[in-house]
């Protein structure tokens, strides 16, 4: 058995799992985080996408042991009690998800993009989502939603900066 300790959505969690367990199985079966989905189990479809140390990865291709000591963000970690994440809000308002199965993976791939690039153009967004297959939507509304979310995040950013400054001062 491998003993694993990792930081998931800001919380430290531990688990003891058979060594061949993938990160996807760890999340779904051991940690009750069923947001990441099993679509193909071989890294072709992206439904299992999560963010590990800032990078969007296919969790079905990563062993749980390889995630030991890392920071993982899953879909469950985006919204707070009071607010949705701007990407989730934009996806809802623009009707970007239909059956929703690819949704968590796409939203996290978009978040990984927007964390690095706060004003991506359409080609860059398409590139970032290229690893996530969607059969229902044709991707069009998702791309629009990511652009809307990028705008929201840019508008929030200066307020966060000034908030941080006032915290430092007090």
């Amino acid at each position: 058995m491998s003993d694993i300790t990792l930081n998931i959505n800001g919380e430290t969690r531990t688990a003891s799992v058979p060594p061949e367990t993938t990160l996807l199985k760890l999340l779904r079966d051991y940690l009750n985080l069923a947001g990441a989905k099993l679509g193909c189990d071989v890294g072709d479809c992206g439904a299992c996408t999560v963010i590990v140390d800032g990078q969007a990865v296919n969790s079905c291709l990563m062993l749980a042991g390889q995630a030991d000591g890392r920071d993982v963000i899953t879909i469950e970690g985006l919204a707070t009690r009071d607010n949705f994440h701007p990407i989730q809000q934009a996806f809802e308002n623009n009707g970007a998800l239909q059956c929703g199965f690819c949704g968590p993976g796409v939203i996290l791939a978009a978040k990984a993009l927007l964390d690095e690039n706060d004003d991506p153009d359409v080609a860059t967004i398409r590139d970032a989502l290229a690893g996530n297959l969607c059969r229902c939507t044709g991707y069009t509304k998702m791309i629009e939603a990511v652009q809307v979310a990028a705008g929201e995040l840019r508008a929030e950013a200066p307020q966060q900066l000034s908030h941080a400054k006032s915290e430092a001062a007090s």
Binding site: A34, K37, D44, I87, F91, E92, N93, G100, F101, L133
Partner: protein
């Protein structure tokens, strides 16, 4: 504020008294009366509008999707639940000589094993009941199921099906639908003919129409086998209670048909079957009939525990329905002005190993094949043929995309030959309000020309041509 007060403040629920107050007018600023259904309104408030039709209302389930809160079948689990796997034939056409499940049964953790001969009525299908739940005597395509196992983990179930030994006697096989139409071709479901359904439409006199035509075009078009690839694989969970009632959660788009099929295959009354559909992660036609549900129900009955089965991505390709490949022969006669005078269509659909939704596909493809055009003289003949490949069934369009590819490709060829604008030749021939369809139906609410004109204007078609 004390901590308790802060919690209460956050938890406060505000009663919405608006529902009971007649004085409040809840409509947004009035829309011009001539347009009964407002088209564009503010999205977040759209769900609050009392003229609900025409609103860009957001989806409540869309919110849950974005939060990852939607429960698909694979996200559900029950205490004591087992995992099922189905052994696939791997051979396209063979007689089953024997199935030995003893090695699988001996594996610790395997709680139930099922073979086709244990199924009370081992056949199902929306029109022809030619598909077995699990093959007992013969396999008809490489993805056919021959045995099923329920075990305490997926890994053990996977190991168990590998240990099941099946002895096959290979039989001849046929893969090309046109070849399969010959009387001396191998009969997939002997002794019946490989052509398992036909459809014909005859209107007017095509020979006369061709004789009067200035130009005749003859072309053959073919399309490929396609898989739905819904992101969520087929999944189901079966569970019994002590009153002999089975509950099945399934990714099926037609729960009443599913209940009828389970009742038939398991020889049970319908009142003892409950089918619950959750949110399906994409259907597109591939989840409109039962697949593994009867097998899961029987495994659950044998093991006395809930059983979950989720198809692998590979099984989605090998063992679920696909889109019919069609060989389409089109012969069209036109006048010099571009008016279609006669059209003769012959369609040969590759019907796969089982009928599934082929009769419906056949019918629709045949009816739609002349295109949305006023043609006085039409003959359309369609055949669907068994082959030893994955069964073909319902998929978004039921044959329409295939025939549209054919008749619209030919239309542009005709336009080129006659030196006409592809838009004009279509406007000349298109249905209008009150047109008669190939089956003699008077059509209403016809907007073919409007759609041609709207798309052309948006695309800036006329400018693009110059």
């Amino acid at each position: 504020m004390s901590d308790e007060e802060k919690v209460l403040e956050r938890e406060k629920v505000h009663l919405d008294t608006a529902l009971r107050d007649p004085e409040i007018d809840l409509r947004l600023p009035a829309v011009v009366p001539r347009e009964p259904y407002p088209i564009e309104t503010l999205v977040p408030e759209a769900r609050q509008q009392t003229r609900a039709v025409g609103q860009r209302a957001t989806r409540q389930d869309g919110r849950l999707h974005g939060l990852g809160q939607t429960k698909y079948i694979d996200d559900m689990s029950f205490p004591g639940m087992l995992y099922a796997r189905i052994k696939r034939a791997g051979i396209a056409s063979a007689r089953i000589k024997s199935i030995d499940t003893s090695a699988a049964e001996a594996i610790p953790g395997v709680m139930a094993v099922l073979t086709g001969d244990e199924i009370p009525v081992n056949s199902f299908g929306p029109s022809l009941q030619d598909q077995p739940v699990l093959c007992a005597e013969q396999v008809f395509h490489a993805g056919d199921g021959v045995a099923a196992v329920a075990a305490i983990t997926e890994q053990i179930a996977e190991e168990a099906i590998d240990k099941i030994v099946v002895e096959y006697e290979p039989l001849p096989a046929i893969f090309d639908p046109v070849e399969a139409m010959n009387e001396d071709a191998h009969k997939v479901h002997a002794p019946g003919s490989n052509i398992y359904a036909t459809k014909a439409i005859r209107k007017g006199d095509v020979d006369k129409g061709f004789a009067e035509s200035d130009h005749i075009f003859e072309d053959r078009f073919t399309t490929q086998m396609i898989e739905h690839v819904s992101l969520e694989p087929h999944a189901a969970i079966a569970d019994w209670d002590a009153n002999g009632r089975v509950t099945i959660w399934a990714t099926i788009g037609r729960i009443t048909l599913a209940r009828a099929d389970i009742a038939r295959t398991l020889s049970m009354p319908m009142s003892r079957i409950r089918i619950i559909g959750t949110v399906v992660g994409g259907n597109f036609g591939g989840k409109n009939e039962i697949t593994q549900e009867p097998a899961l129900a029987l495994l659950s009955k044998k093991a006395g525990r809930p059983v979950k089965g989720v198809y692998t991505r590979g099984e989605e390709f090998t063992s679920t329905t696909t889109r019919h490949p069609i060989v389409m022969d089109y012969k069209t006669g036109v006048s010099n002005e571009g008016k279609i005078l006669a059209r003769k269509v012959r369609l040969v659909l590759d019907g796969g190993a089982y009928c599934s939704w082929s009769e419906t596909t056949l019918g629709k493809a045949c009816i739609l094949s002349p295109g949305p055009y006023n043609i006085d003289n039409v003959v359309a003949e369609a055949f669907v043929v068994y082959t030893n490949k994955t069964m073909t069934g319902a998929m978004r369009g039921f044959g329409a995309p295939q025939v549209c590819f054919a008749y619209e490709s030919q239309m542009d060829d005709i336009a080129t030959k006659l030196g006409m604008n592809p838009l004009d030749i279509r406007l000349l021939n298109a249905f209008h309000e009150g047109s008669s369809s190939p089956t003699g139906q008077v059509l209403h609410s016809v907007v073919v020309k409007e759609s041609l004109e709207t798309a052309s204007a948006r695309f800036r078609w006329q400018e693009a041509l110059t």
